[in-house]
Symmetry: C2
Subunit: 331 residues, 2 copies
């Protein structure tokens, strides 16, 4: 009998604050280009005060992935923490309105934190540089993990960024155990090369012991395995994980599994804002797998979903993804 | 000596909540197409609960106009009321980050209202249908009008939608008196044909007695003067107001002044979302006037600015308006 959810995601629940800037703005404000930096409330206020006019859109890496799966008509749920404030209302609304199940208990004023947000600065080359104030999302702990929900997941999808929270390892362990005990499988995304640097050993242990499907890009892959080349890193990864998926930007994506290797080309698209490309790749790939598609078709689905999200500002799909898949012969 | 501000706007300070929907959604939820409807908190919660995932962007009609003038490098200020909540922070940040002066006192929890918001539903034909919960913006009163600021305005720009607030007529009177006493001029936009129906007499009195420049579209113009044709309405308006500017959608805009009539064509552009077209037309036109341009050039500036804002989601400019004007030979 099929489970209630094809994919259950766990991650940092954030609202994205998107703004355009030039290269000089990044330099003058010590924002490192192309990556995610964690910032505290003081720095968040300072940077926001200097930023240009912005657009607010629900974000969070795994949340974007789950929203993408919901947009494709998949049965999916999300776990991530917001507060009972206006931005928390926006986050919860957008997740449910997209069709995903979402009922993580909200923090209140006693938490001393607001709903987390990610300031995304988009430069003229379409690259995004992210400064994240985690807020209450950082405090997702084991008490927020509903074992009954995890037991209803065909696939668990864990966001690597969550390795930064104080109780996150215990929360992940609880989620993994409940999912696996009920016959579910575990996937994880490495999220960011610097996040990998901060938590390499914990990632390694989890990947080796529990992970069935590893998502990463080439920078995260080489950071993880500390190799000079992507090839060498992929060779090591495929010895540890059943399915390894590595995105390589404009070169598309590789899948390594059972001694085989597959390659899907990137979708030809206009690039406006790279925010969410990796997240939506995971949506398409997991949607394919959960619906019994082969590895190459699933990877193509990932590339088409990623192509949609980079042709506009924001990391959630705008277009009708189901119709887009149909146009690519992927329904 | 020139004044501190070329244009000072007064209006409803709102955050737009933009979402796509199909025609059936409007019908099933009794949202009237293409206009603005005022809604209470209960209706706002109900409609938001049914809406799809959304994007939040600062809005408010006159606020959009002022943001557009600031984006063009104009000296400008805005008056409109938000609360000390997260959406109020977003509104204030976006206005200041765009370069406009904004220091209207914020309401707090005692007000019993949150920062206002406008749910904008965009249908596949790019038309927008707006449901507005005014929140604290409705309670902008005479005490919020800084006479010293009004005296520093070359042009005052009043938003017709504000006729709906309980203390708005007194607030407008105070602003007009302070501006005129210091030698400034007064402009107003009729905002919406149904707003005109609700307050026709008050509009008529103000226009006849105080207004130097009237902005409207063809629907508002005929609603105001209760004539069958636009020609008949324009003939009546030009007897009452020094400068009459009437936008007519894809047909561009007419200016009537001193017995002369000018016509500027609409900018050729892709239409994605009509939200803000009238607001940004006013930005361009006022920017032209304030910089000593002739009527036709000012109207062309209005059309180019309107063309920019309708080629993307949201009612604030995305592109570099100054560069866009330069490409049209309008700098």
């Amino acid at each position: 009998m099929s489970k209630s959810y094809q994919v259950v995601g766990v991650g940092n629940a954030l609202v994205d604050v998107l703004s355009h800037c030039d290269e000089d703005f990044l330099t003058h404000n010590a924002v490192e280009k192309g990556i995610m930096q964690l910032i505290d409330t003081g720095r968040a206020s300072e940077l926001y005060g200097k930023m240009g006019p912005a657009t607010e859109v629900s974000g969070g890496s795994a949340a974007n992935t789950i929203a993408g799966i919901a947009a494709l008509g998949g049965r999916t749920a999300y776990v991530g923490k917001v507060r009972d404030d206006q931005l928390g209302n926006i986050f919860a609304h957008d997740m449910r309105a997209q069709g995903a199940h979402y009922d993580t208990p909200r923090a209140n004023g006693d938490s001393g934190h607001e709903t987390g947000r990610c300031m995304v600065l988009v430069t003229p080359d379409s690259e995004r540089s992210m400064s994240t104030y985690l807020g209450v999302s950082e405090h997702l702990g084991p008490e927020d993990i509903d074992e009954a929900l995890m037991a209803e997941a065909e696939w668990l999808y864990l966001e690597g960024y969550r390795f930064d929270g104080p109780d996150s390892h215990a929360a992940f362990a609880k989620a993994i155990n409940a999912c696996k005990a009920a016959g579910g499988k575990v996937s994880i995304t490495l999220s960011d090369p610097f996040c990998v640097e901060r938590h390499r050993e914990a990632f390694r242990d989890m990947i080796r012991d529990h992970v069935d499907l590893l998502f990463c890009n080439e920078h995260e892959m080489t950071a993880m395995y500390q190799t000079d080349t992507l090839e060498a890193a992929m060779a090591r990864a495929e010895k540890e994980v059943g399915i390894v998926v590595c995105t390589v930007g404009a070169k598309g994506a590789f899948v390594l599994t059972g001694g085989e290797r597959y390659h899907a080309p990137a979708a030809a698209t206009r690039i406006v804002d790279l925010t969410g490309a990796g997240d939506l790749f995971a949506s398409g790939f997991l949607h394919g797998l959960a619906n019994g598609r082969d590895m190459l078709t699933s990877a193509r689905m990932g590339c088409v979903a990623a192509g949609e999200v980079i042709d506009h500002i924001g990391a959630r799909p705008n277009a009708d993804l189901k119709a887009l898949f149909a146009r690519h012969g992927l329904n």
